[in-house]
């Protein structure tokens, strides 16, 4: 009896193998039986993946009763219009080509909501706002006729703002704001004046720290200014030179002119993580012509910043 049962199971297994194997193989490689012509045709497929998932899928206008992600299989070679619909989102559609034995992948689809997730963040009117890569939790807002500076917490369920300064007189043409790495100071500049503000250390402390704020006046127009990583020095790029100011001396002492520049329209980028300044400058070559070069100025403590390297003409 035991051996009879075993024989039955054995032969059933062998038969199953030879029936299932060709069917699965044909399906896997995209073959479809054309019943009318009684032959196998190599088909293609369209794979659709969208964010968010669960969109209704239409092929050439016909609803497939399936949702994304989906692979629409056994498609004869040709062009197909794929349309996706997801409630509360803008619909999506595209016409794609299907080749035999190939998979057409549509996997970069993003649905955008019809009703944007909009929320008001400010309490008082905002004239201008600044966001800093070193303080992603807050935005710094200039308001009330450019006299007040406050910061607003981002990604907060309730509006949460704190007034940093209430009696400023910010010029209209401020070129840039910058927050120091220690998040305790902000500077802004325009033309040849750079103002440094010490931020109140406590959230609700509206009083200004006395004798802290100061400004720097330069001989030439300021193009760029950056905080050094120690938050105590400011690198100022003017149309004529590159200078370093010390904030502990309120920018009055220990001013170093690192380089003189020939380029009135120099471009600069400061890598604050590495304390490296990249900038352009004009230099006269032996042929008497001026050539603009890209320079790298390493100002990190790790290396003396006395050398320059011409990286690229």
């Amino acid at each position: 009896m035991q051996q009879k049962l075993r024989a039955i199971f054995f032969y059933l297994s062998v038969i199953s193998f030879f029936i299932i194997l060709p069917l699965v193989l044909l399906y896997s490689f995209g073959y479809k039986l054309d019943i009318n012509r009684f032959r196998f045709i190599k088909t293609g497929l369209i794979y659709v993946q969208a964010v968010p998932e669960g969109a209704k899928v239409y092929l050439n206008g016909r609803y497939l009763k399936k949702t994304t992600p989906i692979s629409i299989e056994e498609l004869m070679p040709g062009k197909y219009k794929v349309s996706l619909e997801l409630e509360s989102y803008y619909p999506w559609s595209q016409t794609v080509s299907v080749e035999s034995g190939k998979a057409t992948s549509l996997d970069n689809i993003i649905f955008f909501p019809k009703k944007p997730h909009l929320s008001k963040m400010n309490i008082v009117d905002v004239d201008d706002f600044y966001m800093f890569s070193n303080d992603k939790d807050y935005t710094y807002c200039v308001s009330e006729g450019r006299t007040a500076l406050s910061k607003i917490r981002l990604n907060s369920k309730e509006q949460e703002a704190s007034l940093l300064y209430g009696q400023l007189d910010l010029p209209a043409n401020v070129k840039d704001f910058s927050l120091s790495a220690d998040k305790r100071k902000i500077f802004y500049f325009n033309n040849n004046r750079l103002d440094v503000l010490y931020l109140p250390t406590e959230k609700l402390n509206y009083t200004q720290p006395k004798n802290s704020n100061f400004f720097i006046l330069t001989d030439d127009r300021i193009s760029y200014a950056f905080w050094y990583s120690d938050s105590e020095h400011i690198i100022v790029v003017t149309v004529k030179d590159i200078k370093i100011y010390e904030s502990s001396s309120q920018g009055k002492n220990n001013i170093i002119t690192v380089l003189n520049l020939n380029d009135n329209h120099a471009k600069a980028f400061y890598d604050s993580a590495e304390d490296i300044l990249y900038f352009t400058d004009l230099q006269e070559a032996v042929d008497g012509k001026s050539h603009r070069g890209l320079y790298r100025l390493d100002m990190s403590n790790r290396s003396p910043f006395s050398f320059m390297k011409n990286m690229e003409e």
Binding site: Q2, Q3, L5, R6, F9, F10, S13, S16, F17, I20, L21, V24, L25, Y27, S28, F29, G30, T43, G44, L45, Y47, S71, E73, G101, K102, A103, T104, S105
Partner: protein
């Protein structure tokens, strides 16, 4: 002539590893060089595997039902009811080869023998010690003083070290003990065919009805001298205290034995087994220079009787120890080494092939089938785990680059996923079946241990890979390189 045999022997030693490695390398090469052909092979392999596992599970269910049905039979009364005049004359001789095992391991085994319902005046126990182990004499004295009065005879033998032509193996010790038993049987003027000899591992605990069951099968066999009698080994002695993955490996080992008990043409002796003493003498005892003495004794008898020899499955369990260590890593090492020793069973392949060459009485087709069975079981053992858990998922990870937008690139992960899940369903069935094989839970088992017992099955893929295929591949490679293994003692732990 000798050179020819040596060359052939090496060829047969290299063949299993060569085939296993070729399968793995070809699969790997195809995966990256010819992905389309690879997809074809892997789907074929996966379907073959799923159907095979379902087939094997159906055999497991058959064997399991039989085991449950025959569990509570009163075998001794059934044997008594057989119309066979010899039933009163049969002696049961038990040889227990001992290496470093102490009384803590040996006492439960001897207690189990004592507690069997077979007439004790018909039982001979031979404790086979190794002379080279220091405290063998002391252990023998302790056990003799405790048990000599319970049995017809309680012999202690001491296998001398360094007999020419012998290796330090369990088989050499058992053979020495069997020869001493022969001297005793001769002295007692007992006929060899009236003695059934069982060779048990030191930790083997038999059930109360074991010898009744053995007697029944011996007396009811068409030709009892042309059979070995194989119980179902389970590892229940310390199973509740072993780490989960060691437990699952041993349950799986028991399952393979159960499955093979239905595939009679593949069923050979493994671990603890029994046979007629006359047959043992006729085939010149267990091999003394091979580790796999348990399976080789079958092949010796099979060849000696020109193929007229079989193994009769007995649906009664003998319980042994799960091998495990002090911590997880040690358990892993212990298990790995034990499984490698089992997989070293491939050493029978060159032995059997050379003997087949000499033997002209066994038909060529039968030889071919038998050779295929040996290779099939060992090569599947060494390869399928690696193919399933390592090679199969490889191109799925790299499918975007390998299949370059082909339909198969999208379908392959899904199809292999479905097939893999089908395998998991069978694992669920194995899990349920395992519950009836396990002994009652000890009372001191905590709730967490109960949770572990079920979650242990999550280790299957890991176990499959690590302890499944690699020890077998390791053993085959060693044989191919001529790095012959020596018997390694597996320490027994009881708590």
């Amino acid at each position: 002539m000798k050179q020819d045999i040596d060359f052939l022997k090496r060829t047969f030693e290299i063949a299993p590893a060569f085939i296993s490695w070729s399968i793995l390398v070809i699969f790997m090469l195809f995966a990256f060089l010819r992905p389309m052909e690879y997809a074809f092979f892997i789907i074929t392999f996966d379907i073959f595997w799923v159907i095979r596992i379902i087939y094997l599970t159906s055999l497991l269910v058959i064997a399991h039902r039989r085991l449950n049905k025959e569990k509570n039979k009163n075998w001794l009364s059934l044997a008594s009811s057989l119309i066979n005049y010899r039933r009163q004359d049969i002696y049961q001789a038990v040889i227990v080869p001992v290496y470093k095992e102490g009384p803590d391991v040996l006492t439960p085994s001897l207690e189990a023998l004592k507690n069997t319902n077979y007439p004790k005046h018909k039982m001979i126990v031979v404790m086979a010690f190794e002379e080279r182990v220091k405290d063998s004499r002391e252990k023998a004295d302790i056990l003799e003083s405790r048990y000599k009065d319970y049995f017809f005879a309680f012999l202690s033998t001491f296998h001398p070290d360094g007999i020419p032509g012998q290796m330090r193996t369990k088989g050499a010790n058992a053979t020495w003990a069997a020869k001493k038993l022969k001297e005793f049987v001769d002295k007692q003027k007992i006929k060899y065919e009236d003695v059934i000899v069982s060779c048990f591992d030191a930790d083997t605990c038999v059930e109360k009805e074991y010898f009744g069951c053995l007697l029944y099968h011996y007396l009811s066999a068409d030709n009892p001298l042309r059979c070995s009698y194989q119980p179902i080994p389970v590892y229940n002695n310390n199973i509740w205290y072993a780490p989960s993955f060691a437990r699952i490996i041993e349950i799986t080992s028991s399952y393979y034995q159960l499955i093979d008990s239905v595939r009679l043409e593949k069923f050979i002796t493994f671990s603890s087994h029994s046979m007629s003493f006359k047959t043992l003498i006729d085939v010149d005892y267990w091999p003394v220079d091979k580790i796999s003495d348990d399976s080789l004794i079958y092949w010796k008898a099979y060849l000696h009787y020109n193929g007229d020899y079989k193994v009769v499955p007995m649906y009664i369990t003998v319980s042994m120890d799960v091998a495990y260590g002090k911590n997880l890593l040690e358990t892993l090492v212990v298990q790995y080494k034990q499984k490698r020793r089992w997989a070293w069973g491939i050493e029978i392949f060159p032995y059997v092939m050379l003997k087949f060459r000499e033997n002209k009485a066994i038909p060529f087709n039968t030889k071919l089938r038998k050779a295929f069975h040996i290779l099939d079981s060992h090569i599947s053992w060494a390869t399928w785990g690696i193919i399933l858990t390592v090679i199969s998922p490889l191109p799925i990870i790299f499918s975007a680059n390998l299949f370059k937008g082909a339909v198969i690139g999208f379908n392959l992960p899904r199809i292999t996923g479905v097939l893999f899940n089908l395998t998991n369903i069978t694992i669920l069935l194995w899990m349920l079946l395992s519950l009836s094989l396990l002994p009652p839970k000890p009372k001191d088992l905590k709730l967490m241990d109960n949770v572990k017992i079920f979650t242990q099955w999550l280790f299957v893929p890991f176990v499959t890979m690590l302890i499944g295929s690699t020890p077998a591949l390791d053993a085959q490679t060693r044989l191919a390189l001529g790095r012959y293994m020596e018997f390694a003692y597996t320490e027994k732990k009881r708590s």
